[in-house]
Amino acid sequence: MKKRGWIILVGLGLLIAGGLWFASTRGWFSSRAPNELTVGVILPLSGDAASYGEKGRRAVEMARDLAAQSNSCGPVPLRVVFEDSAASPATGIAAFRKLRSSDGATVVIGDVVSAVTLALAPLAEEGHTVLLSPTSSAPAITNAGPYTFRIWPSDLAEGTAVAELATSRGLRRIAVMHMNNDYGTAIAGIFERTVRARRGEIVLSAAYNPDTTEFRSTLTRIRAARPDAIYIAGYFADTAVIVRQARALGIDVQLLGTTAIEDEGFLQSAGSAAEGIIYPLATGFDAASTDPAVVRFVTGFRQRFGATPGWVEAAHYDAFNLVCRATAAVAPNDPSSDAIRRYFEGMPPFQGLGGTFSFDRNGDVVKPIVFRTVRDGRFAALR
């Protein structure tokens, strides 16, 4: 039996070695063609956050193809390599190291999930590779170093804005339900502090896990407490379920949500229960905008993928185009990661799907916040 084990192991080893040799002769290992610049993209393509990874991937593919057609990234062709982080920090690190050493990536776009981005930041620092996250929101990323950038606005701005709106509308007694992850916990914390500072009262604050489907226990408690409003700090799938279950329980108070709920999936899932919910638009992306760039993006995306894009897609699209803009500016002379970093630091305002923005000294962006609601089953501006 032992001998067979050896034979199998050696056989497998030969197979893997053969595969690697084959790959290297095909040039899959060589960092890049002398003229090519590699952009790595790390996304959660499997696992719990896979729905976001899928969206991000589609957007980057579309951006890449459009850029290739119009040759807008400068004289050096861009090569995009996707890697799966499975929303796990360790897998993300493997992906990052692979992209950097085997693919020779100069710049890495990633991750969707803050936990992975935070794990990658030290590597970006140590290896001088620019890391650009489209959607990571953890406050800790602000201080993650000069090589880490992100185009998702800080939780601080969003949480404060919603709290100020709520209290100025006379909603003083507010119940909070937040997702038990970096996004939900951070934003809920900021919201609660601001409400209390403005003499409001947090009636109840409860956390739920990302995969929870049954919220009625907490909602029953909220119903008994009779608040003026409920603030739901989560993403669109769970907010939709909470909203439906709340309405079914007869809770008809004002509902407040996060910027993450502006997605087609929210309306489909929540149905008529979503009517009247107020939320901030902090990502700057409005799918219904008449801005020609947005219209082109939305129509193009619908045509190619059969779904309406939301903020995840828009953020990834912008991230790619930012990299494209940077390489166009620096590539002929100095296509290095440091050059791209310096470009980002001093970048003139960039006009993306998420509005016009530039990076502050921490690599964060500041975007104006407008408030929206759901009216007649569609997202609309709040009056």
């Binding site: 039996m1 199998i8 893997i16 799966d84 493997a94 992906a95 038990n180 956390a207």
Partner: protein, 296 residues
């Protein structure tokens, strides 16, 4: 190069984990899914001490080992009361418990995780791939050596008698629970140490690094590699660390890469375990219990 070094680090760490599983399961006959939780406990203790508490390394490593031993002994305490299938499920539940508690405890960062600064030992940074690879591979060698030693010792022999027939063992004067406790303490120490290596290398601990995926992965490594021999764990770890990474290179259609990987991984695992249950090197096939009355 850094990618290959990273793979070596993961291979070393998970090889040590699989080796621990082998000590418990291959020799002791106790298959636990809780290793990811014990591993996580070691990693979290390391991160907590090195991060917020800024404790020195010579405090963090023994602490991680001690926590590993303690956690695994708790698992052992439960083991003494449950039969095989029940026990496996209970350890899965215990793992879920750990993951949920850790995600809700703000002391260790809760859902945000804990970041730790670079750990320097005598001028060497523990988070540099080369140093970490050296440490991880040393840990792996240590675990294999420990397993080898155990196999040849009287404790190892006693364990194997307990594994096959607990009643016979008792009649021979072997204290079954003491043996199991000793084995689980040893494996717990290895797992705790692996947690230390992981935390100091990755510099970031988060509940997402210790999910059910990892729990199942460790057991699969031990089984696929082969229970009952020290090399089984090494083979299993090599296979199951390289396989998902190898799948990165396979040209999968763009839109479904994540799903395809799940399919390939899952079916390869099932096929392997079914077609060759002894694993690559194993000399112990967990056999059906004698009074099993399955339909034939």
């Amino acid at each position: 190069m850094e990618y290959l070094l990273h793979l070596l680090v993961m291979f070393g760490i998970f090889g040590a984990l699989a080796s621990a599983a082998n000590i418990d399961a291959g020799y002791g006959g106790v298959l636990s899914f809780a290793y990811a939780a014990v591993f996580g406990a070691g990693a979290y203790v390391t991160a907590y001490l090195l991060g917020p508490q800024s404790a020195p390394v010579w405090l963090a490593l023994p602490a991680a080992v001690a926590v590993g031993i303690g956690a695994n002994l708790i698992v052992a305490a439960i083991a003494s009361r449950l039969a095989d299938g029940d026990f496996a499920v209970a350890t899965l539940a215990a793992h879920g418990l750990f993951a949920a508690v850790v995600a809700n405890t703000d002391l260790v960062g809760g859902p945000m995780g804990l970041q730790i600064p670079q750990v320097q030992v005598g001028g060497l940074s523990l988070s540099s791939p080369i140093v970490a690879a050296a440490i991880a591979l040393s840990l792996l060698t240590l675990s294999v050596a420990a397993a080898y030693k155990l196999q040849r010792s009287s404790l190892g022999r006693a364990l194997r008698v307990v594994r096959e027939d607990a009643v016979l063992a008792r009649s021979l004067g072997i204290d079954a629970s003491a043996c199991r406790v000793a084995a689980m303490a040893a494996s717990g120490a290895l797992v705790g140490a692996a947690g230390f290596v992981f935390a100091s290398y990755v510099q970031f601990v988060h509940p997402d690094s210790f999910t059910t995926r990892e729990a199942v992965l460790i057991v699969c490594m031990a089984i696929a590699g082969g229970l009952g021999t020290p090399w089984g764990a090494v083979a299993g770890a090599a296979l199951l660390v390289l396989l998902p990474e190898g799948l990165r290179w396979v040209g999968l259609p763009a839109a479904s890469e994540g799903a395809m990987r799940d399919i390939l991984y899952g079916s390869l695992l099932a096929a392997f375990v079914l077609l060759r249950p002894a694993g690559l090197f194993g000399c112990f096939v967990p056999a059906a219990k004698p009074h099993d009355t399955t339909v034939r």
